[in-house]
Symmetry: C2
Subunit: 456 residues, 2 copies
């Protein structure tokens, strides 16, 4: 019997646990599911004979160490900043570790110790980061093996609402941490390279500099730039590419409308608003507008945003009930961003029957035998329901699959790892297809980065 | 003989030293002027028999303590963060201290010790802070003494170029630290109160939310909001006013044009640009614009800013030579803000014959005997030349006058002080008039904060 300790039984663990339990008899697995909430852990075991729920407080050192010592491998689905103590114990007790989180500096420092003990610490093996690494490296390695030289890599991902549940003017609902959506793009200029030139976009322009993406069967999307486009340049072996760009996918029109909040100052998380608790939604809006003795909040909003009342942008604001005099914010000492999140949650929370959708889109430009070519690779995944969401599947399944591959000796490279090696991405991408996570690749001729698709 | 130690002989010390030397015989003063650069200190003594120049490194503890011990009073014209060691020595050797800087937390902590030793640590007694405190408190105290109740206080100040030297389309030249001009408004939303409602302006809107100010003989100005409008609410005794607003004065049209830099991201000081040293001005601009294989930097700039080629905003950009292919930035590892400062300095540096100008404007709204009234108080000061600039005069003269008043026992309240007491502002404002710093007060009826000056 091989024991897998899963720490954290939150939303993102559903598909992960479901997958491992479904393999548990054949693979002879026993799952120990630990969470601060024993009830939550028990719910996730679903009375399966091969699963045990335990109450686990990772700040209780004895409890944590005892649980880790008993396992053959540890999956940490904790928030990213809480992995490190688990990781250190994994060194002590010589256990492999799998997480879906970005490699922190503290995690990276364990690389030598992990290698010394022949341990695999596989990180960034969820959706984004995770499936993005794997699906990109598969095509990049393939191009290089054929003798091609990479010229361009653009990569986009978005968590959206499925077409059948797309019922509001924003074509958007919160399918993951709403706070991250409200704060998206803050904290510094976006930086990337287009055709050999470094480009920078400040926050106040970020949502006005989108590009379009067409996905057959799903229509048109748009993407705004991520801050970190250059982060994986060396990791992916793309030090010489002319264009490197990463972005976040939304439905067309979302970013232009979101920019209204940015311009008004409603996404600011750096200060607390006076008497936020008793403020009405209307007063919240008025806080960002000039005082006038008689002009309405509505006309002041339209003037500052330069929109008419028959503009769809205006309808998008009205749909959120932003000008309601009676709805109170009800949050003490709240920042504008926290209040905006509250207001948006009224309208953008997934309803019980709603499904979510993940869209990923890569563009690979390269030169081979003197010819310039392009491959576009696209993936759309729709959630089954509110438990097995597209997000839970795409984050959890790669984690689960990697765990089994490590246990079965199919992934063998020790150290602090990302899923960029063939031994990782090949079997996982193949198996993901059985679960509806399928990349469709199209070849086309390459124009360079050329937003208008023509010259002169 | 009373000895005054002046630490720091930079530009802002010119008028200060000139004033004290002119009084030195009558008042029996000896000035010791200490600067890291002995040459600079010597230049400022102007061979006056009552002045001695010394080389003074304030980080040399023995040197610093020895100089302070010999003085009757110390004036520190150092950058604000360097005052504190001087202040601590002033406690030890029981010397009064005068600075033109904001009271830091560290300085405030010396309040009890200063009082215990009956020492006056007078701070914020330059222009802004300084003359703004004094000229505001004079009117506020006067209104309150007559039985009035304050309703509104708005206060504006700006360092500008004098009309006779106003030779560019921006109606602006750098008359003080250029870096502060480029970074103005960054670091958080502006916060103020208008008619009892808290208002917030994000940086991306700051330069679009100006108000107009008319000064007889000088025409129309505009002002954008400072971040700290509420800072002196309690200090001024204005806890119950309905409107409290502080702003920075520019010539009309400056802010709208400056906003172009904000929107493009050129004022960002948070990251270093790739290969900034070898970048041309044109490449700098292009870094903030989308890539296109053939569209010019010019047309991309006009499109993103939504301006036509016959718009004065476009002429303002051309005047700065922003699109020059040959001019190189020449700064290593520079931030956008540092590069913008360099480019602006080419055009906005004061020429040898240029004069600067300070404009200050306060509005006081109040209710007295059931009637609502308003007083506007305005001051314009023009520099004599590039040494005795309006900035040097308005910063240095109040420092010098306060020093003499303390030495002569006319200012007596001990502790860490601001110039908000009658014993300070009355004699200083009166004497400043002899030097051309004259506030003109006008009474008018009060409409409340009403930007359009009418109802309906």
């Amino acid at each position: 019997m091989k024991t897998i300790l899963i720490i954290g039984a939150g939303r993102s663990a559903s598909s992960l646990i479901h997958y491992l339990l479904s393999k548990s008899e054949k693979e002879n697995l026993h799952l120990i599911i630990g969470d601060l909430s024993l009830a939550l852990a028990e719910k996730k075991t679903n009375n399966h004979p091969n699963a045990t729920a335990i109450a686990l407080d990772i700040f209780d050192e004895n409890q944590r160490k005892a649980a880790i010592e008993k396992a053959n491998i540890v999956i940490s689905m904790l928030p990213a900043h809480l992995h490190i103590e688990v990781a250190k114990d994994c060194i002590v007790y010589k256990k492999h570790l799998v997480t879906a989180s970005y490699v922190s500096d503290a995690m990276q420092e364990l690389d030598a110790a992990a290698k010394e003990n022949n341990l695999i610490f596989m990180n960034e093996i969820g959706l984004d980061p995770g499936i993005d690494h794997m699906s990109a490296m598969k095509v990049i390695d393939d191009i290089k093996e054929k003798g091609g030289e990479m010229l361009l890599f653009e990569s986009f991902c978005g968590g959206l609402v499925a077409p059948e549940s797309d019922t509001n003017l924003w074509n958007y609902k919160f399918t993951w941490a709403p706070r991250n959506v409200v704060l998206a793009g803050q904290g510094g200029a976006a930086k990337f390279i287009q055709e050999g030139t470094y480009k920078y976009i400040p926050y106040c322009n970020l949502f006005r500099r989108t590009e379009f993406l067409d996905v057959e069967g799903y229509g048109r999307f748009e993407a705004y730039s991520n801050r970190d486009s250059l982060k994986y340049r060396s990791v992916y072996g793309l030090d010489n590419v002319l264009t490197l760009y990463r972005g976040t996918i939304r439905r067309v029109g979302f970013s232009k409308a979101w920019n209204m909040f940015v311009q008004l100052g409603m996404t600011d998380d750096s200060y607390v608003m006076e008497d936020s608790e008793n403020m009405s939604y209307r007063e919240f809006v008025n806080s960002f507008l000039p005082y006038h003795p008689t002009d309405s909040v509505e006309i002041k909003t339209r003037l500052i945003l330069k929109i008419d009342q028959d503009d769809i942008m205006w309808d998008k604001l009205l749909e959120l009930d932003l000008f309601n005099r009676d709805k109170k914010v009800g949050l003490k000492n709240a920042t504008p961003a926290q209040i905006l999140e509250k207001i948006l949650s009224d309208s953008w929370t997934l309803q019980p029957k709603d499904k979510d959708m993940i869209v990923m889109y890569h563009k690979f430009g390269y030169e081979i035998h003197g010819k310039k070519e392009q491959i576009d690779s696209k993936m759309v995944c729709i959630g089954d329901d509110q438990t097995y969401t597209a997000m839970a599947k795409t984050v959890g399944l790669p984690v689960a699959m990697a765990t089994l591959l490590i246990l079965n000796g199919k992934i063998t490279t020790p150290g602090v790892q990302l899923p960029i090696r063939k031994e990782v991405y090949e079997p996982i991408l193949k198996e993901l297809e059985e679960y509806g996570v399928v990349f469709k690749e199209q070849s086309m001729s390459y124009l360079g980065y050329n937003p208008d698709k023509e010259f002169s």
